[in-house]
Symmetry: C2
Subunit: 688 residues, 2 copies
């Protein structure tokens, strides 16, 4: 009689389970993939670029988890060099190259040149400066960084301490760091990479402080890369959990460094030779760059959630645990309610944020082309929308990656699972480009302003002037408002009426904003977070409602459209669930005194998950990630997670010798001392 | 006119702010410290041991954040060797040494020997085996590990695949790993350190599977530390975010390894020479060890939260950001409501879990002494209590460390902030010693069982038999229950009546359990998490109520008692806030239809925080952490966070050369290619 293990080969079964799940998918995976990538052509283009990377040994990832910080940095620069080499070889467009860099899934210093330095230089440099250096910047003949944050100050640029004092006699600015805390700090690519930078410093003219302005400063020699005289530069050290390892976030201290007057970025603010200040005509024109980064964060966050969902759902499909069922198998862990309840909402977030990101990029392009003509009318709305969405996408993304990691139990904690790396790289997104807690206040301020404008517009307020980000406020105008819903929907109603769910989320936002306005003088301590979230979620809910409507007739396969509709509906339902406290506190939903008023919603969520579950592998396959991209033993496309873990462990540096270096130095002394003490103890006992 | 920076020296001000906050504290810090450490003697003893460590260069932490995984492991073994050297030199007791090891704040392989291997060996080994190896185990003349989890199975030990087949002819067991997935995996100290292990394997007698049993197996040679024949051993590779770096979590595959029959741990289950199985008389007696680890996790989690709170509150006290106030200073960030609302609850969690841990350890000792006499009556209650608290402390701890880290904005992401390391080391606590999602089910099962027992005990159920963990169920028995509260307390009432807050949390637990029992056949997907949390929090709330009562007359200073009462009350209020959905869904709290019914509670929390804030530095100083212990630039005792960050950055390995290795290999080629392309571009333009 054979020893009783599980009555099947656990390792072989992983592959079979994945094949079976894939075969059972009823949606058209390719059609969904094209929906996500906008078209089959886009997808094919991306795939071709990725194939170049995947077969190139420079981009091998097998040693990455074993590297020291310095090795991660060195490797990152080598990847960068190779990408631009390939760009030349293959004649890639700038967009192709950006796609390649994004696909590397590494936080590279070149990102700061491309996204933070170059746009600011081009947008705000004078035409003369841009014509002198623009080609070098564009070709990376110089490498730049953007020096804003200081050791002592971050969010509020008005308090920065670095000075740029104009010296009329020589037509120079003197860049100076007067204190330790004025050292530039956290500046990506500054530590070891950048040759030049745009420095934010307080402009001093005739002893008077004109506030922060931008200056183009050479930092390192183009001959030998050594820092220029008067500038102390270095790397600020490792980051939490090894995040951003390849990026040399750096510091710089300037000791009265002189630059020619022309190197002030003076498209919008100028200083005459005599030292007179010339007011910028459109100060706001300079905001565009930050909004662009925030808009991109929505797309990036969506794809991040897509990775987390793909890895965890694949692992959940092949990992079996628990008692043997009637089929003689343990259950797939993804089939446990407590698991799919955690994972499928992440899948829905991914789809929603990817789609939102596309809309936002379009809206940004419209705004940018108007800005180019001096029209700032769309700026405020763009600012308010991107603030709220930046908070929502970054806090949701960080949370989702960890939920996905945790759903994988013990193996989720292995570096080979891949989600720890994603987490630690994404973690600072809640802080950079506007700390979420500061942005919350800006969202709230915009909401209060919109409310005030609306209510002060006479006896019959004109709701048609409400922008998309404050559209929910129409509910507070009695004449134009649908009746305030006060009902207890059944599970079927929750599932079948996305438009009512959207309306509920809009009511929630309207009521918390109204209450905030009423209590403005006596606020509780978490109200900005609560209101900002409600406002952003109301905006997103309406967009999701539109996404559902937009699916009709768009997809050839009914099953596919149905699955996406269910996924978007799940987004709405779980958003309501997370916002239940507000709906209950304001009496939009009310307990009838017997039992749990939230139960029908919760059952609807379960039903929704059960409907989506059979399509989960198809819906994650549609993201189109290759194994190289995911770099996760647990997210292996073929499902063979145990083989992958085993193989990756063999490469661990500690395994390259049977006996570790620590043996002679420490383990042997511990054992010998212990053996001596034990012998003494035994001898002592023997004597007694 | 001097250039306008902040009108004070930002760096100098940090020290002044810390001094001022410390001077403003009105509580007796030493008295609170003694309360936390149980007595002045305990504190003094600990301090003396720490002083030995702090001045010993072996325990220097300055290079830790720069080390590779292998270096972290090697350093960890060196620390261990040094601690036992000091034990001999100073004549430390076992308890002293444990204290020293805990103070190192490193995840060391020796922890697995001391906590996982040794107790199991001593408790479950036969008297003969213990007498043969006990002294070696106690003195670490051999180093052990506990091999349970396998690559393919974790939580459910019944499904493990490793076999131990008895061979009567030679009186041996044959330990065998029949499949890849049966490899032991994740075993702490197995990879490179342990010489011996306790292996959990399915006992096979005459072809019949008797389920998992324990076997004592030598893994490595005591001569040269090489693995013994038939055993493939290695390290499983790095963990998420560099967590548990010094621990060699390992794998082992056994190829028909023979051990003498005596090496079965046979205190509770035996095999005769002929291969007959002898039933264990008290199988449950072997559970003790796991419960001990869980009980200890409550204390450990409390002190972890204490560290996070200390670092973040200190940084929040000296970090100033924002507009200049009327005093000419920017505001201390801890004074922003959105900051103190995040940090002070963490402080309250720390105090609560430290106190809870003490109670739990006492309860464990009582249970253990009864167990030693074969009395298992306290086991079920201990199991249920520790399950719920393990979930609560680990999920709260992980969350709190991240909330604290995030509250520090950009600098919180630096490895030098220290909280990233704490986070990544603590992260697996939500999975190990029982995955939280699995334990939730056990808490729920115990609650349902207690409810059933209560309700089936006749027309007048006897609530006096309810154990502490199910005491809240008394509320469901009409005769003994205080009237179900249905009210909308004012902010003052929330603040002034902790006993009512406790009662509300008990009502919440009672109602969700009752509802669960009613709907047992049609559950929603997150109900176990929701119910388990409500049950555990009801238990803790009552304990916290007792802690508040216990303060009366215990402390000499009225101010001190007042501050602790407020802190414990804040714990209760924020717990209610987090559980509002339940209270509202069941109509215990109800909207009156106008405005926000949760507002008085939220205002009470704000008031509570404002009252505690001036004591926050005193309440964190009372934890008594030294700078060496915290190892955080942002948690510096003297408040000089900017100097600390600057100094630590200078030691970064990348800063040891002005020009990085990557320059010749990658940066120079990038720059040269770019310069060539730019020249071509300019030449092209010139031609046009």
């Amino acid at each position: 009689m054979a020893p009783a293990g599980p009555p099947y080969d656990v390792n072989e079964q992983t592959g079979k389970d994945m094949d079976r799940a894939r075969a059972a998918t009823s949606i058209m995976v390719e059609e969904v993939r094209n929906y996500l990538y906008n078209s089959a052509e886009e997808w094919t283009k991306r795939r071709k670029i990725l194939e170049v990377l995947e077969k190139d040994p420079v981009f091998d990832k097998s040693q990455r988890e074993f590297m020291s910080r310095t090795e991660r940095y060195t490797r990152g620069m080598a990847l960068t060099n190779r990408v631009y080499e390939l760009e030349e070889q293959h004649g890639w467009t700038q967009r192709d190259t950006s796609m390649a860099i994004a696909a590397l899934d590494e936080q590279l210093p070149i990102g700061l040149h491309n996204i933070a330095f170059q746009p600011v230089f081009n947008l705000q440099g004078s035409p003369e400066l841009v014509s002198k250096y623009g080609a070098l910047v564009a070709s990376r003949g110089i490498l730049g960084c953007y020096l804003q944050t200081e050791l002592g100050h971050g969010t509020n640029v008005g308090r920065l301490e670095t000075t740029a004092t104009y010296i009329p006699s020589t037509r120079e600015f003197e860049i100076h760091s007067p204190t330790v805390t004025s050292s530039k700090w956290w500046i990506g690519a500054l530590g070891k990479t950048a040759t030049h930078g745009v420095v934010q410093a307080k402009l001093i003219l005739g002893g008077k402080d004109y506030g922060p302005h931008l200056f183009f400063v050479q930092l390192r020699s183009l001959q030998d890369h050594t820092p220029l005289p008067g500038i102390v530069i270095g790397d600020i050290g490792p980051k939490s959990g090894g995040g951003f390892g390849p990026t040399d976030n750096g510091f710089a201290k300037f000791n009265r460094v002189r630059i020619p007057k022309e190197q002030m970025l003076s498209r919008f603010a100028q200083v005459t030779d005599e030292g007179e200040y010339r007011q910028p005509p459109h100060a706001k024109l300079s905001y565009g760059g930050m909004l662009y980064i925030r808009a991109n964060m929505v797309t990036g966050g969506g794809w991040l959630m897509a990775k987390a969902a793909t890895v965890a759902i694949r692992y959940g499909t092949v990992r079996r645990q628990g008692e043997l069922g009637p089929d003689g198998f343990e259950k797939q862990i993804v089939s446990y309610p407590s698991t799919y309840y955690r994972l499928l909402p992440i899948l829905s977030h991914a789809y929603v944020f990817i789609q939102l990101g596309k809309q936002l990029t379009k809206a940004f392009d419209t705004m940018a082309s108007r800005l180019a003509n001096g029209d700032t009318s769309l700026l405020a709305e763009m600012h308010s929308t991107t603030s709220g969405l930046k908070v929502l996408v970054s806090s949701t993304g960080v949370q989702d990656v960890e939920i996905a990691r945790r759903s994988m139990g013990g193996h989720g904690y292995s570096a080979f699972a891949g989600l720890g790396r994603l987490y630690n790289d994404y973690l600072p997104s809640v802080t950079y480009e506007g700390d979420n807690f500061v942005l919350d206040q800006q969202v709230v301020r915009a909401a209060l302003k919109a409310l005030k404008t609306l209510l002060s517009s006479g006896a019959k307020p004109d709701t048609s002037k409400l922008s998309p980000s404050s559209y929910y406020l129409r509910l507070l105008v009695p004449s134009s408002s649908p009746a305030k819903p006060k009902f207890a929907p059944s599970a079927e109603e929750w599932l079948g009426s996305p438009s009512i769910v959207v309306l509920l989320l809009e009511w929630r936002a309207a009521l918390v904003v109204q209450e905030l306005a009423r209590n403005a003088k006596d606020l509780d301590a978490s109200v900005f977070q609560r209101v900002s979230k409600a406002v952003a979620e109301a905006f997103v809910a309406r967009q999701v409602g539109d996404m559902i409507d937009g699916l009709k007739g768009k997809l050839s396969s009914g099953k596919t459209g149905e699955a996406l509709t269910k996924l978007f509906t799940l987004y709405l339902l779980t958003t309501v669930e997370a916002g239940l406290v507000d709906l209950l506190s304001f009496g939009v939903l009310r307990s009838n005194g017997s039992g749990d008023v939230s139960r029908p919603l919760r059952l609807a969520i379960r039903k929704s998950c059960e409907d989506i579950l059979p399509e989960a592998i198809g819906l994650t396959d549609a993201f189109g990630f290759s194994d190289w991209e995911l770099d996760s033993a647990l997210g292996a496309y073929n499902g063979k997670v145990y083989e992958a873990l085993w193989n990756r462990a063999q490469a661990e540096p500690l395994n390259q010798t049977e006996v570790p270096e620590a043996y002679e130095r420490a383990i042997k002394p511990i054992l010998q001392r212990g053996q001596r003490q034990a012998a003494a103890r035994m001898a002592g006992k023997a004597k007694l």
